[in-house]
């Protein structure tokens, strides 16, 4: 498997100028292999969306980005905008959370599809309407939109949430991307529609050999859709690995806590064990490990320094006291 995208110590801060900027992502390292579905999970303030937006330089003029994001031999962080925009929509595509507002409300679907196709598919650079229509229909069918011909004349507000998201995906597939970043693509959708969209994404990844970074706060979505997962907290990755082992033996106390925050059927009875405390605001991060105030395994070392990221056998944890697989759950509990 070859690595297609490599995050190397990526840092992002927001503010009017570099010295005054508030750091939001504090050094993220991970890579995405070709064709895999990589999950990025975290709660608010984890920096999961910002990390990916920064990689594509879509984080806005107030974002100050340092570090490296390697793609196809280039460093996206230092790439001039002209070249970056050529990559966007072609090799690198991104879809967003609220599909209804992510489409231009005053243009038809046809107009927006044509724009994507002409821009990103060199074969259609000067194509005539008929060829463009055929290609648009082909893409819409690929994402499972029924009656694509009638749909092309629709405006975004006439499409349901599920349809809009499929249409967005279709638009972003026009350039045959090697990587699709999906930022909370199903959070705003009904559960039954969510299942459809996730299945679609998995199918597209298989058929096209396209890698996907799936950003979400829902661990269930990760478990069902992703091959590997990176767990983020307060702007750092705290755990990374393949989904099966991270879920069966989570090493970081936060990952453990997160898994137990959702009702699960353990020993025949439903259990819910919240993590105590609240997520710190980026203005007021604790020194040392950001999770320490809420952690049941906290010790003095935890407040002194940020735990380094230890990688072994494709599993990575950033913790001074990672949970061994042999430990029981009695050691866990909400810290007040």
């Amino acid at each position: 498997m070859s690595t297609i995208l490599d995050f190397i110590d990526l840092k992002v801060a927001f503010g009017p100028s570099q010295p005054l900027a508030l750091p939001v992502v504090h050094g993220v390292d991970f890579s995405v292999e070709a064709g895999e579905i990589m999950g990025l999970v975290g709660e608010s303030g984890s920096g999961k969306s910002v990390t990916c937006l920064a990689a594509l330089n879509l984080a806005g003029p107030q974002a100050h980005i340092s570090g490296k994001v390697r793609f196809d031999g280039k460093n996206l962080v230092t790439l001039p905008e002209r070249e970056m925009s050529k990559l966007r929509g072609r090799e690198l595509a991104m879809i967003f959370q609220d599909p209804m507002s992510s489409l231009n409300p005053v243009k038809t679907l046809r107009s927006q599809m044509f724009e994507a196709i002409k821009l990103n598919n060199p074969a259609f650079l000067n194509a005539r309407r008929r060829a463009l229509t055929a290609e648009a229909i082909r893409l819409l069918e690929e994402v499972g939109i029924p009656e694509p011909i009638t749909r092309l004349s629709a405006y975004p507000h006439q499409l349901s949430g599920g349809m809009s998201q499929r249409a967005m995906i279709a638009m972003m597939l026009a350039g045959s991307p090697t990587l699709l970043i999906a930022d909370e693509p199903t959070t705003a959708l009904d559960v039954t529609i969510q299942a459809q969209i996730l299945r679609l994404l998995r199918g597209l990844s298989d058929e096209r050999g396209m890698a996907i970074i799936l950003i979400t706060h829902d661990l269930g979505v990760i478990a069902e859709t992703c091959d590997r997962v990176a767990v983020m907290y307060c702007g750092r990755i705290v755990e990374i690995g393949d989904v099966a082992s991270v879920f069966s033996s989570p090493a970081h106390p936060y990952t453990r806590g997160l898994l137990k925050s959702r009702p699960r059927l353990d020993q025949g009875d439903l259990q819910l064990t919240p993590i105590g405390g609240t997520v710190p605001s980026p203005y007021d991060l604790p020194s040392g490990c950001a999770f320490a105030p809420r952690c049941s395994k906290v010790s003095e070392t935890c407040a002194e320094a940020v735990p380094p990221f230890n990688i072994a056998d494709d599993r990575g944890v950033a913790c001074f006291h990672p949970v061994e697989a042999a430990e029981t759950d009695d050691a866990e509990g909400a810290a007040q």
Binding site: E81, F96, K107, E115, Y155, Q158, M172
Partner: protein, 309 residues
């Protein structure tokens, strides 16, 4: 937008005009005696009586209104007290001057105000943006007669560069247009800026960039069309109220247009002319409002009723 809705809107528009005319009609007759205005106080009472009788002013107000309305339906707006000339003719004679003033002002306002506002929105919080915003506040804070008088003093009296009244040459046009356009361009600059800022950072702009559009392309293709909706609607309404707005400026610059005529006619209680102007202005505003209302549905697909969700 179906026929029923449109016809309701038209009907409402007509009622508005009717009420407007009625109101003006009654107010004019109750607020001063035209006979006295025309002939003065020194005159023999019998002359005043004769005047009133000649013009039907001794009849009850409602009777006067009915006969006026009847004539109006036949295209007869009555006659001016001054020389008995056809009121409509008097008004139409002066209309072109006002239209010129309005037209140039509108071009100035849209041509300067809207681009300035858009530029400011694209360079938010830079010096240029702050300068434009500061300038606009100053511009619309000054009432336009103050601006007009200041311009007359500076360019007309002190430096003697420009003529201060009348409308014969091109030079005569400069100050009145600048007077009217300054405040209006300022308002449009601010409004355009807000309209753009509303859309510049919306989710679909991010999608557009994610598709591979450069910032400039994305602004042109996606932000501008959306921002233009409120700008066009406000612009349409603006055009409609131009005639009324011209009134003060025309009086300051003695511009021989409808605004000046209106003031003189009210002062002399030249009823037919006043009524004629009011109807004209009212109709213009109501019609433009109606057109903007209907256009809105065409511009913004979300407002079209259909099988929307």
């Amino acid at each position: 937008m179906n026929l029923a809705v449109i016809s309701i809107k038209i009907f409402r528009a007509m009622i508005t005009v009717f009420l407007l005319v009625l109101f003006v009609f009654v107010i004019l007759r109750l607020s001063g005696d035209p006979a006295v205005q025309m002939l003065g106080l020194e005159v023999d009472p019998s002359a005043l009586e004769a005047f009133r009788h000649r013009w039907g002013l001794d009849r009850p107000v409602w009777q006067q209104f009915l006969s006026f309305f009847w004539n109006f339906m036949h295209g007869d707006f009555g006659q001016s007290f001054i020389g008995g000339r056809d009121a409509l003719g008097v008004v139409l004679e002066r209309l072109p001057k006002t239209l010129w003033l309005m037209g140039l002002t509108t071009i100035f306002t849209f041509g300067l105000g809207i681009p300035a506002g858009i530029y400011a929105s694209l360079h938010r919080n830079t010096i240029a943006d702050r300068a434009i915003m500061g300038l606009t506040v100053a511009s619309f804070s000054l009432p336009n007669f103050v601006v007009g008088i200041i311009l007359i003093m500076v360019f007309g009296v002190v430096f003697r560069l420009l003529p201060t009244s009348g409308s014969e040459t091109v030079w005569h046009y400069i100050m009145p247009v600048v007077t009217m356009a300054t405040a209006d361009a300022a308002i449009f600059a601010r409004f355009s800026r807000s309209a753009m800022l509303e859309v510049l950072y919306s989710p679909y702009m991010r999608t557009a960039r994610a598709k591979g559009l450069m910032w400039g392309q994305a602004v042109r293709r996606h932000a501008l069309p959306n921002a233009s909706i409120p700008i066009v609607t406000v612009g349409g309404i603006y055009v409609g109220r131009q005639i009324a707005a011209a009134t003060i400026t025309e009086n300051v610059f003695a511009w021989p247009g409808i605004g000046k005529l209106l003031v003189t006619s009210v002062q002399t209680r030249d009823l037919a002319v006043v009524q004629c102007i009011v109807i004209l202005v009212g109709l213009t505003m109501v019609v433009t409002n109606l057109l903007v209302d209907l256009a809105y549905g065409w511009l913004d697909p979300r407002t079209r009723t259909g099988d929307g969700k």
